[in-house]
């Protein structure tokens, strides 16, 4: 396969040099009827190529896609995305057809006359109003969903977690029994107090610092993001969640996990994708991949940006409570 490409490229280079020598003895410089004919047909051929590529990508690259949303809020994202994508697809197929088919159909001939057709208010009204109406639907649904995701004020008994970023590492802090995070600032960073928690704050005593995030299934989680050096972005693709971490301010994002990690691992899309990945890994002689939720950095943050990640585990409430109770509080760790 690769060799074919190299050969193809070599052929292209060869042809190009042949053409360069031809430049010295060309005849016509302006398109003739024959050129119009050939190029018009090539446009039709290109339309076929484009359709083939679109269909190939839609069918065979589907397995690459992220599995269905693992958060309850993300369900509407998926639905809105599907609606938008179908719409885009239809318009794309139609517009490319018109463009390239017209390029073929009306390819110039000496004896032909173009139609002097400069304006039509009716047509223009149609293609102003149609997109406008369609957009009303997209904007309406989009704004409703945006509000639905971003409005965290009505969450009942949410789990509060601070996600803390620095070059090139994630850390996290649970709010503890009082479900309130202690104050944090870079001025408090010292020794093992790597997140800069103000230990004089009462709320900070029961906070728990961890290097792996565990979430209970079905309970709303509100993340508070901080950064100590440059911009980072906390990207949790499986939950349709992302928010920048900005030094000097606290940003937030919330969602409700819908599936546990174990449930995701047996979900059909994940099984299929994992099989594809493991086939590739086996060929390279690497250990098999097991699905895990992941938090990765998605804002350029320095040389090792590409390695900045943290594992997220979603489990049943019971297992979560057991795990969190085993984590030491800050008061125990930082004396």
């Amino acid at each position: 396969m690769l060799a074919l490409f190299y050969i193809f490229i070599a052929v292209v280079i060869g042809v190009s040099f042949w053409q360069i020598t031809r430049i010295l003895n060309f005849r016509t410089v302006i398109a003739t009827d024959k050129d119009n004919d050939v190029q018009g047909k090539l446009f039709l051929g290109f339309l076929a190529f484009l359709y083939a590529m679109m269909i190939y990508c839609l069918i065979f690259m589907n397995v690459l896609m992220l599995p269905e949303s693992a958060s309850i809020e993300g369900e509407h994202d998926d639905r809105l995305f599907n609606i938008t994508f179908i719409l885009i697809g239809v318009v794309q197929f139609l517009m490319q057809f018109l463009l390239f088919y017209f390029s073929f159909k009306y390819r110039g001939k000496k004896e032909n006359k173009a139609l002097f057709y400069a304006d039509s208010h009716k047509l223009e009204a149609i293609w102003t109003i149609t997109p406008a109406v369609v957009l009303v639907v997209l904007i309406g649904y989009g704004l409703w969903q945006w509000n639905n995701i971003m409005d965290l004020s009505d969450a009942e008994n949410p789990l509060i977690i601070e996600v803390y970023s620095k070059q090139f590492q994630w850390e996290a802090r649970y709010a503890g029994d009082d479900n309130a995070l202690g104050r944090g600032n870079v001025n408090y960073i010292k020794g093992i107090n790597t997140m800069g928690v103000d230990m004089t704050d009462v709320n900070a005593q029961d906070d728990k610092q961890v290097t792996e995030i565990h979430l209970p299934k079905g309970r709303k989680v509100i993340f508070k993001f901080r950064s100590q050096d440059v911009l980072h972005s906390a990207y949790m693709p499986h939950f349709r969640a992302q928010m920048n971490c900005v030094p000097g301010m606290v940003t937030e994002f919330g969602f409700t996990p819908k599936f546990t990690t174990e449930e995701m691992r047996v979900q059909s899309e994940v099984v299929e994708k994992t099989a594809v990945i493991n086939k590739i890994r086996k060929e390279k002689g690497e250990d098999p991949y097991v699905f895990d939720f992941i938090l990765l950095c998605n804002k350029i943050c320095g040389a090792s940006h590409y390695g900045m990640q943290m594992k997220i585990v979603v489990e049943e409430e019971e297992a979560f409570n057991k795990w969190i109770s085993q984590q030491p509080t800050l008061a125990e760790v930082i004396k």
């Binding site: 490229i9 053409q19 060309f26 410089v29 017209f102 006359k113 039509s120 047509l123 990765l296 590409y306």
Partner: protein
């Protein structure tokens, strides 16, 4: 102006020229030079993406101290991405495209002897030249060039401790951009004044070709938005060098707390994107203007919906200044702002759709002359549609959350403003080459160039949408740390191969361009049988453009294939120069 010929030395003719035609060629050649650098950089980092940490002799050859045994360093990868973006957006598609064609066409198409101020025009070019030199020099500083992404978000761009490129490299980047902005502003003001004041008799605003409208509106958005980037750059220079805290606060790095208090990186993002988004249209509108002209000429038909086209250019320009926040949905700004920007952003789809439909309708029942310029223009409409449609996903804040900063974004903006604008620029070069150099470019090479470029553009950027939807973040040196992305590795190889093909195809263009300057066939006065004024000037360039009086204009630019009641061409041919008076009983269009 001057009836007698000035005595010209080599210096006044080729170097410090005040003639708009020569200045446009200077912009073009400099733009092409920068373009070669920018495209070549993309080849290098595509090698790294497709075959991570594999040794290549070409990397060893070009990256000097920033590689080990032919494997590029992660810092250098980011630097290449950064400089590729900067060069392509500003130096190629802003100065190279607008600078070239605004300078060449504005006086010629409105019927003026030259720009309003030839001297300022010359200054504009030389500032651009200096900024290009500074940018190229920044590639050679010890710690490497700027590498915080072309958007240079602080604190990364402000702190050399965070990334080595934020030292001297970043300083030079900022200096270069400040000079560049000055150049762009001087140029834009000149374009606006010229179009307002120097139109020939009869050239009403509503008779101007759409290229003129596009350049005119582009210059206005440039004047409105570029100064804001200048202020952002200056404030960033203050933060970097004089200890102010406009964009920085509460930073702990390299084991110490820095003194910055109370600034906000989000403020920088607002300032940056207040230019950054209009910039997309500064790049795109001239390409669309060029395309409008070329499609009408080569379809032998009037552009469909002339007034609607002007209206949509204006609507796009207006909207472009109030949508910048869609780059910042997840920046931490108030979610309510996100709602407002979603609304304004998606509105842009309407004028864009009008333009796309009007192009297609112009082709309908035309008599299409498939000159290379026409092919590139049709290609532009295709990529503009493909790339524009995915804007519906990215402009919708709720959907943007999950595709933000992934390869989906990279695919979207490359198609809609990168590839489209490049195709428009190439179309313009093929179309107006006879006007610039008095020679014709080779047609066959043009065809090869077009097809290889279009196929590789789609080959690179179409599959890229899907690896973005797989959640793959952009600007990753390698994806090997994430087993979940192992299945996109093959796609990346294919993309890189297409990228190399596309890059190699540009050699055809370079050869055609430079050989044709010297050995191309002599051009006729009006080779494409076009209506506009520039084709009434002599093939040989003269100061003042027209040997005698400036011609008077009697009609709009699009009287192609105008027939009388018997179906015969009113003026005997399928085109009518704007200088031809109306016949008795002829309807003005």
């Amino acid at each position: 102006m001057s009836e007698h010929h000035h005595k010209e030395t080599f210096v006044t003719k080729y170097i410090f020229s005040q003639d708009h035609k020569m200045i446009s060629k200077q912009f073009l050649i400099t733009g092409i030079f920068m373009g070669v650098i920018g495209v070549f950089m993309s080849m290098l980092f595509r090698l790294q993406i497709a075959w991570p940490e594999k040794s290549f002799t070409i990397i060893e050859a070009f990256l000097g101290p920033h590689q080990n045994d032919g494997i590029m360093n992660p810092d250098m990868y980011l630097a290449l991405v950064t400089i590729h973006g900067t060069i392509m957006v500003f130096f190629v598609l802003t100065a190279g495209l607008s600078g070239t064609f605004s300078n060449l066409l504005i006086p010629l198409q409105i019927g003026a002897r030259d720009m309003a101020s030839g001297f300022l025009n010359m200054i504009s070019y030389w500032l651009f030249f200096i900024s290009s030199i500074v940018m190229v020099v920044s590639l050679f500083v010890e710690a490497g060039p700027a590498s915080a992404g072309w958007t240079i978000y602080p604190p990364l761009s402000a702190l050399p401790q965070a990334i080595p490129g934020s030292g001297l490299g970043m300083t030079l980047w900022l200096v270069s951009m400040a000079i560049f902005i000055a150049s762009s502003l001087i140029g834009s003001l000149n374009y606006i004044v010229t179009i307002f004041n120097l139109r020939t008799k009869g050239m009403k605003m509503t008779r101007m070709p759409l290229t003129m409208w596009a350049f005119f509106i582009t210059a206005i958005i440039g004047v409105v938005s570029f100064p804001v980037l200048l202020s952002a750059a200056l404030l960033l220079i203050f933060d970097r060098s004089f200890g102010t805290s406009f964009f920085l606060s509460d930073i702990f790095i390299s084991g110490e707390v820095l003194h910055y208090q109370g600034g906000s990186p989000v403020l920088f993002e607002h300032l940056f994107w207040f230019l950054g988004h209009p910039e997309v249209y500064i790049v795109l509108l001239p390409a669309l203007g060029i395309t409008s002209e070329i499609i009408a000429t080569n379809s032998r038909k009037p552009i469909f919906g002339y007034r609607a086209m002007i209206g949509s250019i204006m609507a796009i320009a207006f909207l472009s200044t109030i949508v910048w926040g869609h780059h910042m949905f997840i920046s931490g700004m108030n979610p309510f702002l996100g709602s407002v920007f979603t609304f304004t952003t998606l509105l842009i789809a309407i004028p864009s759709a009008v333009k796309a439909f009007n192009y297609v309708t112009t082709l309908w029942k035309g008599n299409l002359q498939m000159n290379p310029a026409m092919l590139f223009s049709i290609g532009l409409v295709s990529t503009f549609v493909t790339g524009g449609l995915t804007g519906l996903v990215l402009g919708d804040s709720a959907l943007d959350i999950n595709v933000h900063d992934t390869y989906f974004v990279v695919a979207h903006f490359h198609l809609v403003m990168g590839v489209s604008a490049i195709l428009g620029m190439l179309a313009g070069i093929y179309h107006w080459f006879p006007k610039m150099y008095g020679k014709m470019m080779n047609k066959t090479l043009g065809y090869w160039h077009f097809w290889l470029t279009l196929i590789s553009a789609y080959g690179v950027f179409f599959p890229m949408h899907f690896i973005g939807l797989a959640g793959l973040p952009r600007r990753y040196y390698t994806n090997t740390n994430f087993p979940m992305f192992d299945d996109v590795a093959d796609v990346n190889v294919v993309i890189t191969l297409f990228a190399i093909l596309g890059g190699v195809a540009q050699l055809l263009f370079l050869a055609n361009f430079f050989i044709s300057i010297y050995r191309g066939k002599q051009a006729e006065q009006n080779p494409w049988r076009s209506n506009t004024l520039e084709w009434t000037t002599p093939v040989e360039h003269i100061h003042g453009n027209w040997p005698g009086k400036i011609p008077e204009v009697h009609r709009w630019a699009y009287d192609y294939s105008k027939v009388d009641d018997n179906g015969d061409y009113i003026h005997g041919e399928d085109f009518v120069l704007q200088t031809v008076p109306l016949k008795d009983g002829e309807d003005p269009s």
